[in-house]
């Protein structure tokens, strides 16, 4: 290609680019297309806004439509020459997603392009519901129940606050992949369920010939008010349904394109996520009121089946020595309502608040609640720890039960002369149950160490496997030499810094004092120079030094530049008969005409100078 041809082509290209916008600016038309015009809530439709006659970007805004979301999916531009006529267009693509079924309209959109404002036509479309059937199951007629459901173990009738063990089983068909969105939720008033474990037991079960994956939660329910409470359990999940791709690849026109193979559908994870809610049958939870007849005074609301152990250690004490009273309630029931048997403070006993510790079994309603209480004997006459009682309601027998411990004998040591009194036989205390033949009497204080025997400690933290860094002496920090030295250094530093800060503060607050000190120091220097000149007998130097001393001392505080002070300035500043004026005049004369002073005169001048300058404020 010759140079000329290349130049001609380049010129043509430039002309095209210059002319095209002009051409496009002439007939601008717009169009909004939606495909398809009817779709379900789980699907989407493509909205294309085509702007014809422009090459530059058009400016427009789509008005918000309730329950409709628009996702921008890019734009494409096209330029063509047909029979020497040029045409250009830009297409803006959107995906329309509906949040709820219904009939919608995309209103006319105003588009600013090529200097014109043009409007699209309104586009109407319909969004239909997807029904209760899954995408994949729709064709097979499967309902949510075929995919997931919940069963609940038998509940029965109960009392307020009673812990009712229940087993929840959630079944998921093995034919579907399911993601859990929540744990089972209890719907209904008047009944409480504790927080469920996030990792339930998992098994497989066959129901009606179909295999299900089953999640099992062992939990409990508790009615909080009397009456019949309708309840139901629900669980939200998402079913992942494999989808065939709706839009085929651009290579579809070639029959048997590899991109349309179903392998690519699964490889690219083309699945539809379908939210479902698994539900249990509707149940009734009956809560009866607790009987008023026979309710013990110390009943705190404990319902279940319990036993009680009471122990005390040490049992050989003197007045004032604390004793640890250990009360253990074990069994099954609502341990949150189990409170420590009351040991009241009397004239014989001082008591402290008990502490509690609950150790639950894995099923959460069986366990052991321990209470520890410090008690102190106040009187020498005390022989035993009195009986303690604990009451609960047994739902199986539908009656109240009171457990009572036997008094625990104590051996009190007399302080002075160490005589021992009130020695009781050290037989173990035992519980007795006031409601006959309910709970067999149980030996108490089994764990208590036998008197006089060395105590051993169970459950101590294990030994260390390293000695730790070894030091010859264990000393408190304030006795360590290095620490004392460090503190001393810091204290000295603190004092020094305080001094400097004080000085700085003083100089800022009283600048005159600093100036005064500076002048005094300068005067000493100047007088020394004058004295030296006098001793050398050099009159010219002597007078010159006198002049400098007067200028420095008198002029420094009164004039901007002390060295510029003249005789006139000095006379104005001091009284006319001041000897300093005379000395200064002699010095000025000497500066121009030379000077001759006797030793005597110099001595006199020096004395006068010193006296007068020191007198000045």
């Amino acid at each position: 290609m010759g140079k000329r041809s290349f130049f001609a082509l380049a010129l043509l290209a430039v002309l095209i680019f210059l002319i095209v916008p002009l051409v496009g600016a002439k007939d601008v038309t717009v169009e909004a297309r939606l495909n398809p015009s009817s779709f379900t809530v789980n699907e989407g439709a493509r909205l294309s806004i085509v702007v014809n006659g422009v090459r530059k970007n058009a400016d427009f805004e789509i008005p918000a439509i309730k329950n409709i979301k628009l996702h921008r999916r890019g734009q494409s531009s096209q330029t063509s020459f047909v029979n020497g006529k040029m045409s250009a267009s830009i297409t803006y693509n959107f995906i329309v997603q509906a949040l709820a079924p219904g009939k919608y309209t995309i209103p006319p959109i105003e588009i600013r392009a090529g200097g014109d404002n043009v409007m699209t036509k309104a586009v109407s479309f319909e969004v239909t519901t997807d029904g209760n059937q899954t995408g994949a199951g729709a064709s097979e007629g499967k309902s949510v129940k075929d995919i997931a459901f919940i069963t609940v173990s038998e509940i029965g009738d109960h009392f307020p606050g009673e812990i009712v063990p229940v087993t929840l089983k959630v079944y998921f068909s093995r034919n579907y992949r399911v993601d859990l969105n929540s744990l089972p939720t209890l719907k209904g008033d008047g009944v409480l369920m504790p927080q469920l474990a996030s990792k339930p037991e998992q098994i497989q079960e066959s129901v009606g010939g179909q295999t299900f994956n089953v999640l099992i939660w062992n939990t409990s329910l508790s009615g909080i008010k009397t009456g019949t409470h309708p309840i139901q359990f629900t669980l939200d999940a998402t079913v992942l349904i494999p989808q065939e791709r709706r839009s085929r690849s651009p290579f579809s026109s070639f029959s048997g394109s590899m991109f349309d193979d179903s392998v690519f559908d699964s490889f690219f994870g083309n699945v539809q996520r379908k939210p479902i809610t698994a539900i249990s049958p509707k149940l009734e939870f009956n809560v009866e009121a607790l009987p008023e007849a026979g309710k013990p005074d110390n009943f705190t609301g404990a319902i279940g089946s319990f036993t009680m152990d009471v122990g005390a250690t040490p049992r050989r004490v003197e007045v004032g020595e604390p004793i640890t009273l250990t009360m253990t309630i074990s069994g099954e029931g609502n341990f949150n309502r189990v409170e420590a048997p009351v040991f009241s403070e009397t004239s014989s006993w001082k008591t402290y608040s008990p502490t509690s510790d609950y150790a639950a079994d894995s099923d959460n309603y069986r366990g052991e609640k321990s209470f520890e209480q410090a008690i102190v004997v106040k009187e020498q006459e005390v022989t035993a720890i009195p009986s303690l009682s604990f009451s609960y309601f047994d739902p199986a027998r539908k009656e109240y039960v009171t457990l009572e411990s036997e008094p625990i004998p104590l051996e009190l040591i007399v302080g002075i002369n160490t005589q021992t009194t009130a020695v009781l036989p050290a037989k173990p205390a035992a519980t007795s149950v006031s409601t006959t033949d309910l709970v067999p009497a149980k030996q108490l204080v089994e764990k208590q160490s036998v008197e006089g025997k060395a105590p051993h400690f169970a459950n101590l933290a294990p030994i260390h496997l390293e000695t730790g860094s070894l030091t010859a002496n264990v000393l408190p920090l304030f006795q360590k030499i290095w620490f004392i030295s460090l503190c001393f250094v810091l204290l000295v530093l603190l004092i020094v810094l305080l001094y400097f800060n004080w000085r700085q503060y003083k100089s800022v607050m009283q600048p005159g004092l600093v100036m005064q000190k500076k002048r005094s120091n300068q005067l000493l220097v100047d007088l020394k120079a004058v004295e030296q000149a006098r001793d050398h007998g050099d009159a010219a130097v002597f007078l010159a030094q006198c002049r400098i001393a007067i200028q420095n001392h008198v002029g420094a505080s009164r004039l901007e530049t002390a060295a510029a002070m003249s005789l006139t300035d000095l006379t104005a500043l001091l009284e006319g008969d001041s000897p300093l004026v005379e000395i200064f005049a002699r010095a000025e004369e000497a500066a121009y005409a030379g000077a001759s002073l006797t030793t005597r005169e110099m001595a006199d001048y020096f004395e006068q100078l010193k006296t007068e300058l020191e007198k000045l404020p």
Binding site: T313, P314, V317, E318, G320, E321, P322, I323, T324, Y352, E372, A374, I413, G415, I416, N417, T418, K453, A454, P455, H456, F457, N459, L460, A461, P462, I463, H464, L465, E466, T467, G468, S469, L470, T471, A472, N473, V474, L475, P476, L477, F478, F483, L486, C487, L490, L491, L493, L494, L497, L498, F500, N501, Q504
Partner: protein, 249 residues
């Protein structure tokens, strides 16, 4: 040149060898003690740990294991003493704190519930309060140094000084308060009696259980005049108690 280097290396090995051997020996002995503890031979474990303490010094692990051995043997006083000593080296060791609390609780050794002021002052150990006071001193030095060089706003400068001074006052008060009880005596024998006078055969004024903390007031011969947290006072033989900051036993 190479020969000289080799000689240096050889000499260094000669110097380091005894230290390595000693460390290995301590480690081996300590493991022997741990092995004895593990099989329930607490007497042997105690002997080994005590030997290590005398020969090689105090370490948290060593004191803690010794305390555990005493506890398992039923010698509550010595167990508490060694737990307390371990805490003096590392006040935040959770194993030591936990076991000490358990041994005390299981032995009926309750501590009086302190009032609010005492709770605040005893919130940290005496070492921690000392460090807090030291940090305050350091802050003061820094504040003064910065003030010399830079001019900060008067309000923030005074505010900083007030804060540091308040913490300093609190720390020093706490140190002084804790100083009175920083080195308690622990009763290490059973059936210890407080006596009304420091002489053999003197009448008893009360009993003190093993593991109880006492505070020395004065000494007379082989006797120490002590008080406990409840305010009881009396004389007891000095060998029946041992100071937390003292020789290991």
């Amino acid at each position: 040149m190479i020969q000289k280097k080799l000689i240096h290396i050889f000499m260094l090995i000669l110097i380091l060898m005894p230290m390595t051997t000693q460390a290995t020996d301590v480690f081996d002995r300590f493991n022997d003690g741990n092995a004895a503890y593990s099989v329930g031979d607490y007497d042997t474990a105690i002997t080994i740990y005590n030997d290590l303490l005398k020969q090689d010094g105090n370490g948290v692990g060593l004191l803690y294991n010794l305390a555990n051995s005493y506890a398992q043997k039923g010698q509550v006083g010595l167990a508490i003493l060694n737990y307390e000593r371990a805490l003096r080296i590392n006040a935040s060791d959770s194993d030591v704190i936990g076991n000490l609390a358990k041994v005390r609780k299981d032995s009926g050794l309750f501590t009086e519930e302190p009032d609010k002021v005492n709770q605040i002052l005893s919130m940290l150990s005496i070492d921690s309060w000392t460090i807090a006071a030291f940090v305050c001193l350091l802050c003061m030095v820094i504040l003064l140094s910065v003030r010399l060089k830079y001019k900060s706003s008067k309000r923030s400068y005074i505010g900083s000084w007030v804060s540091v001074t308040l913490v300093m006052i609190l720390s020093v008060t706490a140190v002084v308060y804790n100083y009175q009880t920083y080195n308690p005596l622990v009763v290490i024998a059973e059936d210890v009696k407080l006596q009304v006078s420091p002489f053999e055969g003197a009448s008893s004024s009360g009993a003190i259980v093993q593991g109880r903390m006492l505070f020395p007031i004065k000494n007379h011969g082989d006797y120490t005049y002590v008080t406990d947290r409840a305010g009881r006072k009396g004389w007891l033989r000095s060998d029946l108690v041992e100071a937390v900051y003292g020789q290991s036993s």
